[in-house]
């Protein structure tokens, strides 16, 4: 069985009289240690998939399993634990706590996990050994995103979920972030899932899941992923 699997997952929102289908029997699988990209236009249903995979929302039908656990059956409390221990989340706008230094922002995560890495170690790993004691406002966008990644990695999650990680960054910075994510996947064997509207970055992925109109349009397995430095957009 695959590490992550969606089986006919459906999600519907009721807006008064109208029912909007955000996910229409979505099915896909992702293997452990893969670098997967979920790509689609706005409104294709990316965020809904992200929410359900990240344990921030529940599905109405179908089954979601992660590492053998059926998370679609979880209640709110277990979903919180799932987010706490199993998911590393990287946000488009980094979502750092402004009043905490880089180091303390990572500690925000390590202090609630069971067997975390040392916060300093993770920050060194993402290349911020000199900026540990700086506040977010003193860091560049790329540096902030590194802190965000460090925060996600520090708790040793099963999955690293990245929501448009380059969305708020310039071209070059975006690339260094993608390299960091790719390296994390390749070197540490971390399963990384990137959700984006940017088609250009798909060549670097092991698996590409394309969404369109709330459905899975195609799932492509890329046997020879391109190195980040060769990607242009």
């Amino acid at each position: 069985m695959s590490f992550v699997s969606f089986e006919n997952v459906g999600k519907h929102y009721k807006m008064g009289e109208v029912t909007i289908t955000a996910s229409d029997s979505v099915s896909f699988e992702i293997e452990k240690g893969e670098f997967a990209v979920i790509v689609g236009e706005s409104g294709a249903g990316k965020t809904t998939v992200l929410n359900m995979l990240g344990g921030m929302d529940v599905c109405d039908e179908g089954r979601i399993t992660v590492d053998g656990e059926v998370i679609s059956d979880y209640n709110a409390k277990r979903l919180t634990s799932y987010r706490r221990y199993d998911i590393g989340f990287v946000f488009q706008f980094y979502n750092l706590v402004n009043n905490l230094t880089a180091l303390e922002n990572v500690e925000l995560s390590t202090q609630i996990s069971n067997d975390p890495m040392s916060a300093e170690e993770v920050l060194c790993k993402v290349g911020l050994e000199d900026r540990m004691n700086n506040f977010p406002s003193q860091l560049s966008g790329g540096e902030q995103q590194r802190v965000s990644i460090a925060r996600a990695l520090a708790k040793k999650p099963k999955l690293l979920l990245c929501d448009e990680p380059t969305g708020a960054l310039d071209y070059n910075t975006g690339k260094t972030i993608l390299r960091l994510l790719q390296d994390t996947c390749r070197k540490d064997g971390m399963t990384v899932i990137v959700i984006t509207h940017n088609q250009a970055i798909t060549p670097m992925a092991d698996r590409i899941i394309r969404l369109k109109n709330s459905r899975v349009e195609s799932v492509t397995v890329n046997e020879n992923p391109t190195d980040v430095s060769l990607i242009e957009w």
Partner: protein
Amino acid sequence: MTDKHTKKRKNAYTKDIFREIRKSLSRFLSIFLIVALGTGFFAGIKSTMPDMKESAADFFEENHLMDIKLMSSVGIQYEDLQAIEDMDGIEGIMASYSCDVYYNYEGQNQVVKAMSYDLDSDSDSDSFLNRPILVEGRMPEKSGECVVEVTMKTPASYEIGNTLTLSSPSKDTSITDIFTTDTFEIVGIVASPLYIGFERDATTIGSGSVNSFIIIPEDDFNLSFYTELYIKLSETDGMEPFSDEYTEAVDRWCDKLTETFKGVIAARVDKKLETTQNSINSMEKKLSQLENMQKLDIVGLYDFCEALQAEITELESKDGTLHSIELSQKQALLKQAQALVLSREAGETAADDELSETIEKARLEIESAKEQMSLVSEQAVYGFTRFSSSDYASYAGDSEKIDAIAKVFPVFFIFIAALVCLTTMTRMVDEKRIEIGTYKALGYSSLKIISKYLIYSTIPTAFGSLFGVSIGFKVFPYIIYNSYKILYNIPSIDTPFRVGYAVGCTVCALFCVWITVIAACKLSLSSQPSELMRPKAVPPGKRVLLEKVTFVWKRLGFLSKVTIRNLLRYKKRFAMTLVGIAGCTALIMTAFGIKNSISKVADLQFEGVFGYDALAVINLEEVYDDADAEKVLSEFEDVSQYILMSCGEVEVTASGNTQPASLMVPKNPDELDPFIRLRDCKTGEKLDISDGEAVITEKITQLLGVSVGDTITVQCKDKPDVTLKIAAISENYAMHFVFITDNTYRSIYGDSPVYNQSYLILKENTDKTELSSSLIEKDEFLGIAFLEDKAESFFSSIESLNSIVWLLIVCAALLAFIVLYNLANINITERVREIATLKVLGFYDGETSAYIYRENILTTVLGIVLGWGAGLVLHRFVVLTAEVDLVMFSREMVWYAYVLSALLTVVFAVIVNLVLHIKLKKIDMVESLKSIE
């Protein structure tokens, strides 16, 4: 621009504002409530003084309270009344009877002041003064009926339908010499505008003070003269009865009327003296004739008779009517002489005996007439105003004390309201920066943009203020007045809506809010539009001082770190919350503190200072030797210890201040201790009274501004003024006392003190009723008062303070709710993203809430500590302001006030945090994914 166009625009504008209000109801409510609380508190306390004064003024006006009372030692006759009535400026005048008599209730003689009531009183007449207010039942309609007053200390038998049997206070007169009957049926319960407090007149009988008054028909009085003359002036019409204007007017009139009255009385007395002198003269003439006649022998008598006969004949020949009196006197004398002749001729002595009897009688008559003349010739007149009643004067003083208290609170509430408005409006302007930027970019003027916020803030402020004052006007005077009701019995208080105060408060509140709005908008408006349309730069994280103390900082979790940094980053909010919480704690602490300070007086005085159980009043008419009273007391088994005391009312003067006090002279100063414990007010050491010096109680030294070693002047009625040196100041909480030894008394006044009271210590389980009835049966004692009863009535009066405590607690709670909720609300809206992120990171609901609570908790704790300090200051201020001259409240803060104020503040904080928890739970994690606005 056409009118139609303008109207349309205005509509869109107001629509926008109303939508804004609907969208941000909690912000709207924050401003509304804090303004309502601030203005309500201020207006409520502020209107209490005028409400109390005006209610009293209406009460006096309605019941035609006199302005001036005249009395004289020779009474008042109808002709005196007529003479005064003829003066200009007299609106109404009424003469009445009064007499202090005994009413025996449960073995004790209560002094009752019987006052007259004219059954034919015309309610339209300006001369029907001091109208009794019927509380229950009806007024007397025929002889033998009475109405009574019911207060805390009146006998329980004062009930409609009961009959009162009165007795004369003096053995020489019978009750029926005073009244036509000795029993009166109670037909109604009344109050009198003459007595607005619980002080009743002093009296020369019984315990020395009147227990209560009763009103009986005027015709039931047997007195030959009126005792009081009440006058209402026309000049004082419409004057405020406590104003300087009124005081000046009545003082002037009182002097003038007393002077005139003195003349009227003197003229009447002179006339009477003249007639008395004339009759004395004629009596003396008659006496000398009789004495002469007695000395004559039989021959002389014959001659005497003849001479008389001749005179009579001569008189008869003249005009009879002119000399008829002289004629009849001579005829009577002749008759007596003739009878004497006859009797002596018959050898009898009967006529002689009769003559000597007549002579003796005539002598006595002359003597008593002369005595009466000497009495009458020393007539004194007295003039009184309403201010002669200390209750009347202190009523105004008490209401002014509340006004003084009203001066501190508004400062605090305006401060806190301004802070709340400032933080709220700053937040609003921050949220709207893109909108402001857009307007600016479109070319709108700053004034146009700011006006939206001004109007937005005006609505909750104006409504909040009106709402607040409307409630404040009703609630505060009512509750404060009710607790003053233990002291005053003006039946009800009017709480009108005071337009002036309402407008003043609203304008002030609006001004405050507008200034905060302008302050909040200033920064945004001075920025470039482009800058405004970008998201606001988040205030950068800052290191705080504490971080330098690395060993502490390292130990703190990120929650503590973020809390401390946040608190210090938003200083305005931190200050607002701190002041709000501190205010809440201080208010509650003050409330409990005041209650304790006042109720402690009873404990400290009745259990600490006073050690005696009962006080028996000695009947000085029966007891000529102290040993008599002591002998009677020693016969009572229930009395384990007693001490005789001379207690007299004196005025103590020092450095220009005068205060009333009791001069206490214990018979055996060394034995005073178990009865009254004199302890040094500072060290608590036992004090002894030594010869030549005085021990004086604490509060009066403060009022007079004297200390140990200073001298005081003691004025006692009918005695020369004396000066005493203060040897020590003793702890005492109610009334003022000056203690001296009997030797000191003898050396300053030259005679021995008269022991008029006896303090008793009773055995346990003494039957009080039995003791008092058997003691009163003894001629040596007039009555007995138990300390326990006194303390009890004091305690029950303190119960009414609870309403003030509740009032303060409710205000404190509102304050805490508004401030904490406001802070937390701003915190949440501003940090939605952060909170959503924490949820995504896997924080449980409790942990997420704790993240926000920390700030609340820390501010609450700091606020409580700060509030304790503020509470101490506030409590002391209120205690000192509210204290009456005769009482010293405990100034100490009681431990449970600290605990309760902290506890209640925490409870309020917890309630707010629970509400927040619900709000936090509802925050959607998706917020974390949204772009920054």
